[in-house]
């Protein structure tokens, strides 16, 4: 999965001593120890695997980070510059690499990024059946209710979205699902099932408009609503009679309610269900499911 992206000196201890199956993140910062995030716990990477000892830790270098970014772009930075401008690179196998460096701006517009100084390699996991706990609250006899997944970063919202759409197809609900995969994360593993179309790397606005016009979806699945433009796209889809399954970053229902961009969607009851995740017991901790009036329907 990480072959050809990480140098052997880093990859081999990870593959042989740590294991990729439970690894969530690998962070490389120039001249700093390499950090691993595994099941919600933080470790340093050493030649012998993971360690808590700073002295045993392996250090990343600037050239190592430059090379990781170059290799992650399949040796073609120009082909992923639009992603780099947004601070990440998505690899074909669903790995998302967050990057930092020197942002080159001209006239208030980001042109590119150079001098990469850190990368955060997020390893996607397929957690089968993880959406089943919430399934009956979201799927009703008359169809799927508009649902927003609320979670802090890395708590499993994308994994939930993927599994939920897959479960729809497994239960013979031939919903034409449209996955708007802005960052190349939705369509990995067994993907979104048998009834899904995927538009990759398009903005929400373009994806919603083109998808609704040309693909006539019953449900649109998309990750990480954040800006006004995303909210407008959701309203557009909702007004067209398309059901929506989306996610957003927030650490609780209370902090979500403070987000100004979502006020209109909340007031108009566009979403009928809110599924809240946290990191309390590691990634994928389901905190609760709420209805459109924010009454808790289920508690764990």
């Amino acid at each position: 999965m990480l072959d050809g992206i990480l140098p052997d000196s880093v990859l081999l201890p990870i593959k042989n001593k740590v294991g990729l199956s439970s690894l969530n993140e690998i962070r490389l910062r120039a001249d700093k120890p390499i950090l691993l995030s595994q099941m919600g716990q933080k470790y340093f990477l050493s030649e012998n695997g993971r360690t808590r000892s700073y002295n045993e830790a392996m250090f990343a270098t600037s050239s190592m980070i430059e090379e990781v970014v170059f290799r992650a772009s399949e040796c073609s930075i120009y082909s992923v510059n639009e992603q780099i401008k947004k601070g990440y690179i998505a690899t074909p196998n669903g790995i998302r690499i967050g990057i930092t460096g020197n942002v080159v701006e001209e006239g208030g517009v980001v042109k590119t990024m150079t001098g990469f100084s850190s990368v955060n390699i997020r390893i996607p996991h397929e957690v089968r059946n993880c959406s089943l706990k919430a399934y009956s609250c979201i799927v009703k006899p008359d169809g799927v209710l508009n649902t927003l997944i609320i979670s802090p970063p890395g708590a499993g919202k994308t994994t939930f979205l993927r599994d939920f759409v897959y479960q729809l197809s497994e239960r013979n609900m031939p919903y034409n699902a449209l996955g708007l995969d802005e960052r190349g994360e939705l369509n990995i593993g067994r993907g979104l099932g048998n009834y899904a179309d995927i538009i990759s790397f398009a903005s929400k606005k373009i994806g919603f408009e083109n998808g609704i016009r040309s693909l006539a979806p019953n449900i649109i699945v998309t990750d990480e609503l954040s800006e006004w433009e995303d909210v407008e796209a959701v309203k557009f889809a909702s007004n067209c009679g398309v059901r929506i399954l989306a996610s957003t970053h927030s650490d609780s229902i209370e902090s979500f309610l403070q987000k100004a961009a979502f006020k209109e969607l909340i007031d108009e009851n566009v979403f009928k269900r809110y599924v809240v995740f946290s990191m309390r017991e590691g990634p994928g901790t389901l905190e609760g499911i709420y209805d459109e009036n924010f009454s808790r329907m289920m508690r764990w």
């Binding site: 050809g4 052997d8 290799r71 073609s76 120009y78 082909s79 780099i84 042109k111 590119t112």
Partner: protein
């Protein structure tokens, strides 16, 4: 028997002259192919933004053949995780002088390292320099290429005359 030896020696002289002239011709072919290669990359990077590996694999056979294995060596580098070195890049490519190798190496090393605009400018700069080299190679080929062939022929004749 004497005539056979004379004929063989004459043939060897002409062949040596031909080989020398081919050296100059190959250099012209190499730079022509390299310019074609760079210009095609420039167009495709601007148009399709396809990954380098796919673009290089899709180059026409004639261009690839005249690059004397540079394309394959570079593809090996793209597929592996080793650093690009001159030894690896110019394996089986005997037509370049050391200072030319340095420039061509820098060209390949710069590929895929910047955004579309930067990459395109960089390629165009290299194409200008390759073009200058092509002009030099073409005039060398004109001067020394045909001269080598003639010299080989004359040397052959000289040996024939002596032996007779």
């Amino acid at each position: 028997m004497k005539w056979v030896i004379i004929a063989v020696l004459f043939g060897i002289c002409v062949a040596i002259g031909y080989l020398f002239s081919m050296k100059y011709k190959k250099r012209v072919q190499f730079y022509t192919a390299l310019i074609m290669f760079a210009q095609k990359l420039d167009v495709e990077i601007n148009f399709s933004r396809e990954r380098l590996k796919k673009l290089i694999e899709g180059m026409d056979e004639k261009t690839k053949r005249n690059l004397f294995g540079l394309d394959k060596n570079f593809l090996n580098y793209l597929s592996g995780s080793e650093e690009l070195t001159q030894e690896a890049l110019f394996k089986n490519c005997p037509v370049l002088k050391p200072e030319e190798k340095e420039m061509v190496f820098l060209f390949f090393k710069s590929l895929g390292r910047s955004d579309v605009l930067g990459q395109s400018k960089e390629i165009q700069n290299f194409v200008k320099r390759f073009d200058e080299n092509l002009t030099k190679c073409a005039s060398e080929n004109k001067k020394y290429g045909s001269l080598s062939l003639k010299l080989g022929f004359i040397a052959g004749l000289f040996i024939v005359v002596i032996l007779l």
